[in-house]
């Protein structure tokens, strides 16, 4: 069974440009999460999808970030326009059950975003 995959693994863009990150969860997992780790800091929750619906987007930093999950399968996270402070590693995770914190979340390898 394939794990959570993320694309690209690395992205280097200039300030003001747009970047789109993609996450493919484990097949059959209704719950999909995005997290971000800024260098040296903790991994922080961004948002949670249940199928195609946003269950909780309280961690999204501002309206430059747009997450979608069309059809309840893969998800994209777009940053437009990117700022320097958006640099970090963006993790995606998926889980199968209720979406609560007792679920085991399976994480992807992350996308390292560098904004110059």
């Amino acid at each position: 069974e394939a794990g959570v995959t993320q694309f690209p693994s690395h992205s280097v863009i200039e300030k003001g440009q747009t970047v789109t990150l993609r996450c493919d969860p484990i097949s059959g997992h209704d719950n999909l999460y995005w997290y971000r780790r800024v260098m040296g800091k903790e991994i922080k929750f961004l948002l949670h999808f249940v199928k195609e619906s946003k269950q909780d987007e309280s961690g999204m930093p501002n309206n430059r970030f747009l997450a979608e999950r069309t059809g309840g399968t893969y998800s994209t996270l777009k940053v437009q326009p990117a700022e320097l402070e958006d640099s970090g590693v963006y993790f995606c995770a998926s889980s199968q059950l209720s979406g609560g914190s007792t679920d085991t979340q399976y994480f992807g390898p992350g996308t390292r975003l560098t904004v110059l």
């Binding site: 800091k41 903790e42 991994i43 914190s101 007792t102």
Partner: protein, 111 residues
């Protein structure tokens, strides 16, 4: 607000030595507690978790962790470290549908 503290940013141990990684949390109730490991180029992998019951939990790869309510701690231990354990370790608290992570502890294993 919930918080997770991993006071050791980096730890170096010799192969075969014992290991303890510290984790303290701040949360009003008994939380759900997790340890994840991230090896280079890999996603975070769940090592173990504590929800209730026995406060000493066993995980994969020979790891264990002990929940101590009085100290608000959930330290990770391994009696004998292998070179393949070199990685970054994250402690996390589960609240609702969210995880709160610590800043991670990077482990170096020297032969």
């Amino acid at each position: 607000a919930q918080s997770v503290t991993q006071p050791d940013i980096h730890i170096t141990v010799s192969e075969g030595a014992s290991l303890e990684l510290r984790c303290n949390y701040s949360y009003g109730a008994t939380p759900y507690l997790f340890w994840y490991v991230q090896s280079p180029g890999q996603g975070l992998q769940l090592l173990l978790k504590y929800f209730s019951g026995d406060t000493l939990v066993q995980g994969i790869k020979g790891f264990e962790a002990e929940f101590k309510r009085s100290q608000s701690s959930f330290n990770l231990r391994k009696p004998s470290v292998h070179w393949s354990d070199a990685a970054e370790y994250f402690c996390a608290v589960g609240v609702g549908n969210q995880f709160y992570f610590g800043t991670g502890t990077s482990l170096t294993v020297i032969p």
